[in-house]
């Protein structure tokens, strides 16, 4: 496919570039990186993600690669199945002889690949999986993760939620681990800060199969003053449309996970309900120099605004490059040693992969929804640094198995 030959072409470009730098005669052998993601199952997120890592790869190779060697990414689709992800991981490791693995979106697939990395003793840089278990209970020496997991995402929202006057809260979340742990953490944290809060209802629609009208009515019946939402994608769209029609959100505060990410906010359009407290990514508005440079390059290359997936893809690739450069080798033990504490420049600023739990300090944006020209936008946002919300050393020690 065209896309896969792009990475080959980029690799070739890198070879040319490194030849220019290192003089004629010796073409350096490329460093092979194996990449796995749910391209066919979740294209709305993974296609921008691929744009992101491809742009980063191009930049890395244009700058002469890593220690004179170009980087080549061999990318595979996991078909949305953990079993298939293990198959392609094995293929990348035994047939393509990649030096390390990166990628994945779904938590269970990320965990499956992470377990392969542990078994085969190879570095895995997880891009997106949100489950806390990945760096805590199931954490191990060979897996590092970029995105802030469920707990800090919730913690950021709890800070804002605690400021609200609302006392009666209801929750709605998809019926799987991500939804369940988000709600559990949210309830525990908010109740700890605000003992006066009452939890009046919880709804657990099956992911992708929400019965939106019934769910909205059930929520309305409990007469909450505020709602914590974890649904996203098509379920969220249905929930909002039904909620708007039936007046569910009138006079109620809503705190909502991930809703500000362009992947989920853009399709809402004029249906966006203003004033929700959300986490997300206000791509067009961030004016730090590093983000401006990223935005300009991304728009020049793809002609559209980046999505959060683009940031994740770009930053994962840059993390891999930083680890490779720091290690000065493709030996796994050296890579692992280098990855602990490595600093990476991302569009959100410099991040560090914490040695204690292998979690990066990439942060997130929290803000409010608004409607502008018939489109949903994120306003009044601030950037929250990951290090301020990630679990402390004591908690890591208690929950994460020792190497």
């Amino acid at each position: 496919m065209a896309i896969r030959s792009v990475s080959a072409a980029l690799g070739a470009m890198g070879v040319v570039a490194s030849c220019l730098f290192s003089g004629p005669g010796r073409a350096a052998e490329p460093i092979k990186v194996g990449e796995i993601n749910s391209y066919s199952t979740l294209p709305a997120f993974t296609l921008p993600y691929r744009n992101g890592w491809q742009m980063a790869l191009e930049e890395i190779n244009a700058a002469g690669g890593i220690n004179g060697r170009p980087v080549e990414v061999i990318s595979r689709d996991d078909n949305g199945k953990p079993g298939d992800a293990v198959t392609v991981a094995n293929e990348l490791l035994s047939r393509e002889n990649v030096s390390l693995l990166m990628g994945t979106f779904f938590s269970h697939i990320g965990l499956a690949v992470s377990d392969v990395a542990k078994q085969r003793k190879v570095l895995f840089v997880a891009a997106e999986p949100l489950t806390d278990a990945m760096t805590m209970e199931q954490g191990h020496r060979y897996t590092f993760r970029l995105r802030p997991p469920t707990r800090p995402q919730v913690a950021v929202l709890v800070e804002e939620a605690a400021k609200l006057p609302a006392k009666r809260w209801a929750t709605v979340a998809p019926n799987y681990e991500y939804g369940q742990s988000s709600v559990a953490v949210f309830k525990a944290m908010l109740s700890a800060r605000r003992p006066d809060i009452q939890w009046v209802d919880e709804q657990w629609p099956a992911q992708g199969k929400i019965d939106a009208g019934a769910t909205v009515q059930a929520l309305a019946r409990a007469q909450p003053e505020a709602i914590f939402n974890v649904t996203f994608g098509p379920d969220l769209i249905k929930l909002i449309r039904e909620g708007n029609t039936r007046g569910l959100f009138e006079g109620k505060a809503v705190v909502s996970m991930l809703t500000g990410e362009p992947e989920y906010l853009d399709p809402l359009g004029a249906e966006t309900v203003p004033g929700w407290i959300i986490t997300g990514y206000p791509a067009a508005q961030i004016d730090t120099p590093e983000h401006k440079a990223f935005l300009k390059a991304y728009q020049a290359k793809y002609g559209e605004l980046p999505k959060l997936g683009s940031i994740v893809g770009y930053s994962t690739m840059k993390s891999v490059a930083a680890i490779l450069a720091k290690a000065g080798s493709t030996d796994t033990e050296k890579l692992v040693a280098a990855a602990a504490g490595v600093k990476v420049a991302t569009p959100f600023g410099e991040i560090t992969y914490r040695p204690e739990d292998h979690q990066s300090t990439l942060g997130l944006f929290v803000g409010k929804t608004a409607v502008k020209d018939g489109k949903g936008v994120m306003v009044d946002w601030t950037y929250k640094r990951g290090e301020d919300y990630l679990p402390g050393l004591a908690e890591v020690k208690a929950r994460r198995p020792a190497d």
Binding site: R76, Q119, N175, E177, G213, T245
Partner: protein
């Protein structure tokens, strides 16, 4: 009280949407006996086409009401094309092959939608004129819901008029009752089937287009609706439109009220309801016992015989090649071969149940999944070594089949198939939600083989010996008295009964046996992948098994093994080289179905037989000369 009333109306609105799609599926099945897996794809296309018409035709306000019938007609046209170009060619193939063909269509449509409409979720406008809500008993009810609620009965009435007041409708009803008799009376079956399929597609397209004002148009719409719609059709009674209407109301209301009482049960409520209804009413609410004995239809009139001695040599050669594979292929090739061997056993166990026993399971992943979890839990929770934990797989699989099978053997045909699906979904939901035992959707990790078997070569040999041996045992069972008894029960239950065979008892035994071997495959799979997820008991895994069996050919013994090898190879290799692997595999499946309607192995065997029949004649001629 007011709240309950408005919740009831909400349930009715969902019921109407379900009914429109389900009625189309029911009509198609009633007449042509096609299990149209692509019905959800037609529904999804209806929604996407309506979206494009509303957003890009530039007709301005009120546009949705024009887009609605146009999209439905467009989908009807696609249905017509599908019937004429594909399904018509395979009406004479064994019944289930059309299911395989429509599965190919599902895959192609998924990628076509991605290519045409892009990856993002799309949100259409609200319905012009019905955008708001009305207040009934102090509750806000969306106007569009009221429109949907009234549309359901209107469509039901129109269908009733069509089937009872027109000549064509009378023929359709006659064909639903006894299609051979209708054909014998000189009715052109082909055009009747085309008409029915087109009508079904129209209803699916309409159902999809009607969803536009209710929420997002997305890629997953097809698979989200198809299972639920099958449930409605089966609960209602196959081919019975009024039954589908009743069933849709039951499911719609159950979902609406179920979330008030058991908000955590959303995954499984529908399937629990179906299981209960089928156990109480084996032919659904309004269905009648099928005129055609379903098991006989599976066999397609072909008698399974032992292979000629010449084939033994070929098998010996294959066995030698398999044993020599570690010297011929790389570590990765061994990996792929291991996966193929596991799936071959899975498919072979499904084949004993479906091909030999005549009980087509849509939920065979239940036993595969139970086996995976059994083995993984034995290793992780009980701390057993791999050798012992592997034994736990077949035992849990057999235990599951013992319980589920007891209920299933009381049913027949598609009703039995759907009950197996219901049990598989219940198993899936338990694996998914019983987090303290199964780890929920984050699964069980770190299920790796013992040290001696951890290398690719050792694990390959382990799998080869276990799976190869099991497949030989399965083959032996087929030609044992038990196997012949099963086939007798499949081909004529009445005659089997007359000579004193307890069909139910034998079928139950078959279930347990197949559960045992599927569980064994599942246990191996757990150690092969190193982790277990609810995924292994999902509908996707069941469908994969069915595709393997049908692709190879349900009437031969080697068919499922060949099907498993080909399908696994396609999935692994095609997805390595293209993002559009679904479209490629879909097209390959469609081509294979058209080229080998009996399955690949049966086709090859027929050619071989024909060649052998000619050869002696040629030789004698040569001698004479």
């Amino acid at each position: 009280m007011e709240f309950l009333f408005s919740q009831f109306l909400t349930g009715l609105a969902s019921a109407s949407s379900l009914f429109l799609v389900a009625s189309g599926l029911s009509i198609i099945f009633g007449v042509s006996r096609i299990v149209n897996f692509a019905h959800g794809s037609l529904y999804m296309l209806g929604a996407y086409i309506a979206y494009s018409l509303v957003e890009h035709s530039g007709l301005g306000g009120g546009n949705f009401w024009i887009a609605l019938p146009v999209a439905a007609l467009g989908v009807a046209l696609l249905g017509l094309l599908l019937e004429v170009t594909l399904l018509r060619k395979i009406y004479h193939a064994p019944e289930l092959l059309q299911l395989l063909a429509t599965f190919g269509v599902v895959l192609v449509v998924q990628d076509a939608v991605l290519m045409i409409w892009g990856p993002e979720d799309l949100l259409g406008p609200r319905a012009p004129g019905l955008a708001g809500a009305v207040r009934l008993f102090h509750q806000a009810i969306p106007q569009y819901d009221l429109f949907l609620i009234s549309l359901g009965p209107v469509v039901l009435a129109l269908l009733w008029l069509l089937f009872h007041r027109t000549h064509w409708g009378t023929l359709v009803r006659a064909a639903t009752h006894d299609r051979d008799m209708v054909a014998a009376l000189g009715v052109n079956q082909a055009s009747l089937f085309t008409g029915v399929f087109t009508l079904g597609a129209l209803l699916a397209g309409l159902g999809g287009a009607l969803q536009l004002p209710r929420g997002a148009v997305s890629h997953a719409m097809d698979l989200q609706i198809i299972v639920e719609v099958f449930v409605v059709v089966v609960i209602g009674g196959l081919g019975n439109v009024f039954g589908a209407f009743l069933a849709a109301i039951i499911i719609g209301e159950l979902n609406a009220f179920g979330i008030l009482v058991f908000p955590q049960m959303t995954l499984v409520l529908t399937f629990l309801a179906m299981a209960v209804i089928l156990v109480v009413r084996p032919w659904g609410l309004r269905g009648k016992p099928q005129s055609l004995a379903h098991g006989a239809a599976v066999a397609g009139g072909r008698v399974l015989r032992r292979l000629p001695p010449a084939a033994g040599k070929a098998f010996l050669l294959v066995a030698v090649l398999l044993l020599a594979l570690p010297w011929l292929g790389s570590g990765y090739a061994l990996n792929v071969a291991t996966e193929m061997a596991i799936y071959a056993l899975f498919a072979a166990s499904l084949h004993l149940l479906s091909g030999i026993g005549g009980m087509v399971s849509f939920g065979h992943a239940a036993y595969f999944g139970l086996g995976s979890y059994g083995a993984a839990l034995a290793a992780k929770s009980l701390g057993l070594p791999m050798e012992l934990a592997l034994l736990a797989g077949p035992l849990t699989g057999a235990l599951g089949a013992l319980v589920y099978g007891w209920f299933c053997v009381r049913l027949s045909g598609v009703y039995l198939s759907m009950l197996t699906l219901a049990f598989a979904q219940i198993t899936y939901a338990v694996a998914f939600q019983w987090s303290s035992l199964t780890g929920g959707d984050n699964g069980i990790l770190g299920v790796w083989p013992s040290h001696w078997a951890s290398g690719p070569v050792a694990f390959y040999y382990l799998t080869l010996v276990v799976c190869g041996g099991s497949i030989l045992i399965l083959r032996h069972i087929v030609f044992s008295p038990f196997g012949y008894t099963l086939r007798a029960c499949r081909d004529s239950e009445i005659r089997a009964d007359a000579i004193g065979i307890d069909a139910r008892h034998h079928r139950w035994l078959a279930f347990i046996l197949c559960g045992f071997f599927a569980g064994l495959a599942g246990g191996l799979f757990a150690f092969f992948k190193g982790s277990v997820f609810p995924d292994s008991a999902s509908i996707g895994t069941s469908v994969d098994g069915l595709v393997m069996v049908l692709l190879g050919g349900i009437q031969t013994l080697t068919g499922p093994v060949v099907g498993a090898v080909i399908y696994t190879a396609l999935r692994i290799f095609v997805s390595t080289y293209t993002d559009y692997w679904r479209a490629v595999i879909g097209v390959v499946i469609i081509l294979l179905v058209v080229a080998f309607p009996q399955g690949i192995v049966a086709w090859t065997a027929d050619r071989f037989q024909a060649w052998r029949a000619i050869r002696p004649a040629v030789k004698t001629k040569e001698k004479a000369a």
